[in-house]
């Protein structure tokens, strides 16, 4: 248990919106270090091998680099706190319990790319996060720190808390940009990436809340310290949102690369009612299912990818033997169908059709033709949308068809 909650969830730093208490716990030291040598920040983040914690696992330093290199005097840093997918509950915890570590990280990012706007883009359904962040940001605005950052950036820096539309799709990078420009959160075609041309055409760095929360700790303690926290080649820690049929669901901060088995049986108290483990929906839940043979997988971006799945947001929805996979998949696809923004016809109709078919399969009212249609849709839909929503939805359906064909009443397909 000694590896539990070492950095972001360390009990001592759960100080809420009180800036003074945060400083007493060593807060702002990272920012002070950063102010001493702002030009080395990106290299230090690169050394620490910090990845995007919103699901993609993209190296953060490369994103920062792109935004720093982009031309333009007006740049944005956006902290993406739109978190809305089933099974993920990490960002809301950070934003409501330790808002200052997020703000400090965002200011360091602003220093690194010389941004003058820092926006906290938060899900309005999470009233607690919104309230605490507003209180916390108000304290920074009255502090001398903002002045120091502005001096280093070379222009005034403003902090803003902006409620998002509260829609799932609003968390997609380009949708964040659309939303901040005042429109409906329609995702846009990439490239150009927001780091080159984002809010009102300005270079915009969009990072997940958890990613930014880690920044101040890395700058303060050094990249080597951060790398050493991880297991093996993986670096740092990760927030795992554990839910489903386990004894003790909850948010666990563990070394990046902790095995799935340890997460469930060592930290999560084992399976509920002593049932047998069946599968895990990771991330979105829009990824390939992890099954019993994957219990030993190290939960870091690269190791999970080797099993043809993705770590995603670190959400682990555990399903026990006896629970219906189809029921869960139908529930998630129903969520995606509701969450689709509707601008790409294939996604709008595709997710709806998938949800409808799954609902029928789940309630046992389907015909063989429905199953054929389901498989057919899984073949034609991927890649047909501007954003990844439809791909994620298809991935999870396809994976359930492939891994648990007997639940659909169909013959197993060859691996």
């Amino acid at each position: 248990m000694d590896k539990l909650n070492q950095v972001l969830l360390k009990p001592a730093i759960q100080v809420g919106a009180d800036l003074f208490a945060w400083m007493q716990q060593g807060g702002t030291q990272g920012l002070a270090t950063a102010l001493d040598a702002p030009q080395t920040l990106i290299q230090r983040i690169a050394d620490a091998d910090l990845r995007g914690m919103g699901g993609a696992g993209f190296p953060t330093a490369r994103k920062w680099e792109a935004a720093a290199q982009a031309a333009g005097s007006e740049k944005y840093v956006v902290c993406n706190g739109n978190e809305d997918e089933p099974g993920t509950f990490k960002d809301r915890t950070l934003l409501s319990r330790t808002p200052h570590q997020v703000i400090e990280g965002a200011l360091i990012a602003a220093l690194a790319i010389r941004a003058c706007h820092v926006i906290f883009y938060l899900n309005p359904h999470q009233q607690g996060s919104l309230r605490e962040m507003r209180r916390a940001v108000a304290q920074w605005q009255d502090s001398p720190w903002l002045e120091k950052v502005a001096k280093a950036v070379g222009q005034p820096v403003d902090l803003q808390v902006v409620p998002s539309s509260g829609r799932y799709i609003g968390g997609e990078e380009t949708a964040v940009v659309a939303s901040l420009e005042g429109g409906f959160p329609f995702p846009r075609k990439k490239p150009p990436f927001p780091a080159e041309s984002g809010v009102r055409g300005c270079p915009t760095l969009i990072n997940n809340t958890e990613t930014l929360a880690k920044v101040s700790h890395i700058i303060r303690h050094g990249a080597d310290w951060y790398r050493a926290l991880g297991v093996g080649a993986a670096s740092g820690t990760k927030l795992y949102s554990l839910s489903g049929d386990v004894m003790a669901p909850g948010l666990y901060e563990l070394p990046m690369g902790t095995s799935l088995h340890d997460l469930i049986y060592r930290y999560g108290g084992g399976m509920l009612e002593g049932k047998a483990f069946k599968a895990v929906f990771t991330g979105g839940p829009s990824n390939t299912l992890l099954t019993r043979k994957d219990l030993d997988v190290a939960l870091d971006f690269d190791s999970v990818r080797e099993r043809q799945s993705r770590l995603g947001t670190g959400a682990m929805i555990v399903i026990s033997e006896g629970s219906s996979i189809i029921r869960k998949v139908a529930e998630y696809i129903g969520f995606f169908a509701k969450g689709s923004c509707g601008q790409c016809p294939s996604c709008k109709c595709g997710t709806f059709q998938l949800a409808r078919l799954l609902e029928r399969v789940d309630s046992g009212r389907h015909s063989p033709a429905d199953l054929a249609a389901l498989r057919h849709l899984c073949q034609i839909l991927p890649g047909s949308g501007r954003c990844g929503l439809i791909d994620g939805a298809v991935t999870v359906v396809q994976s359930s068809l492939h891994t648990f064909p007997q639940e659909y009443g169909i013959a197993a397909t060859a691996d």
Binding site: M247, L272, G322, S323, S324, R327, D362, S363
Partner: protein, 541 residues
Amino acid sequence: MTQATTAIPHAEALARLASGATPTLRKSGLSRELLLERYHPDHAPAAAATLQIGANAGERCHPTLAELLQANALIDGFDLAGAEQLSTDVLVIGGGGAGAAAALTAASHGADVIMACKLRLGDSNTVMAEGGIQAALGRDDSPQRHFEDTLRGGHYRADPLLVAQLASDAPDAIRWLIELGMHFDVTDAATDGGTLRYKQAGGCTQPRILSYRDYTGLEMMRVLRETVELDPAIRLLNRCPAVELLSHDDGSCAGAVLFDLEYQRFVVVSARSVILATGGCGRLHLQGFPTSNHYGATADGLVLAYRLGAKLRDLDSFQYHPTGIAFPSRLAGGLISEAARSCGAWLINGLGERFIDELAPRDVVTAAILRECADGRGIERDGRIGVFLDTPRLARQWPEGIEHHLPALAHLAAKCGIDPATEPMLVYPTLHYQNGGVVIDGEGRSTVPGLLCAGEVSGGIHGRNRLMGNALLDIIAFGRRAGQRAAEDIGKRPLRRGDIEHVYSWQRTLVQSGLPRQARAPRLYPGPGHYPLHRNERSLA
């Protein structure tokens, strides 16, 4: 049941009573409070336990009931996979009077209703209610007096708002029942104008009981059943016990899981609102008492509501009806209506004395009978102990015969092999009613959004003791209120498929608090009725 070792033999007591001497009313020597404290079963040491988990953790509860409330669920997630799906605006669980009143009212306000009965529609305690229904309709009566009587009868422990609604809804409830076609006893048309006839009830300042002979509940259920069966907006599911409620993510109620006995399969009903009308818990035979309740009274509703997080109240307070049959033992617990006492039948102990005002509130009379038996003044017949209910006294005042006024009593006596006109009946208190239940507001809403309650499953209306005639009124008054509320909420509540996530959190709580997970509830069918829900259990059975 604790029975005294000493008692007066039946023949001796009978001879004493037959001597013709007018029995004297012995002074009690104990205040009502002391009498209750020392002799009422609710105050026995064996009746006290403390709930460890759930919304009422730390509160007092009867140990037998606590065992069920803190039990594990009957089903698990896999039971829902592939189960038949139904959806409706309002799901009514329970086939008694409260359920029927709620279903009819919801349907008349435009809701689609599914009514699920564990047995069949009408198989309930409603049909066993004999005495009557209270309503302040008399010329000298008022809802205010009804309110005051009810509050006092419940030892001022009832929720005054609920009691006020009960009393003021009563006249309209009677009108509704008459419109549906229910009969009530009326006075002689030639001499008294043929108006409603009022009877006196224990604990009331005014004759306020309306009745139909002594099977009022049966008559009420007759019209309710016919009306429900004929209502096209109500889909009736007989022999479909609710085994679990469904919940949304926010903890609100989303419907229920039923088990269809005929097809031996689970049915998942999604509903905007669920009205629990599952009645009480007499069949749990608390402290070994016999019960007057029907087969289905196993506290199912309390268990389901509690697991979903609803707050309950007065879980240590039950009504023991003073005059249950004590002899013969095969009929033990069968009920002799309070109407008998209200018409003038006395209670006599083995010494030939009256020992209590027969029309005192039921808990007081019960405590007094238990005191006589405990102190050796009870009457023993073939190993059964009780006191006499002096039915021959009724026969003397009614030359036309007891069966003319109290046919159910005459019928029961015949089953006992007793002629009530010549021989007194041996009676002993019987577990009759659950005073507490789910906490509700004035419109039947529990503390869980989307979950409403009506009838005996709800608490707070009768305080810690219920008056005769208020149960039949309660089911109609609050059944209609809950039905109307549920129908009006149609636009506000989502119709989405729920899950049993609350069961999983419940199981986690069970483990964390070290309670056993093997105990399962609700009990559904006590005793001989064994209906295994799962196929593997079926093959073993």
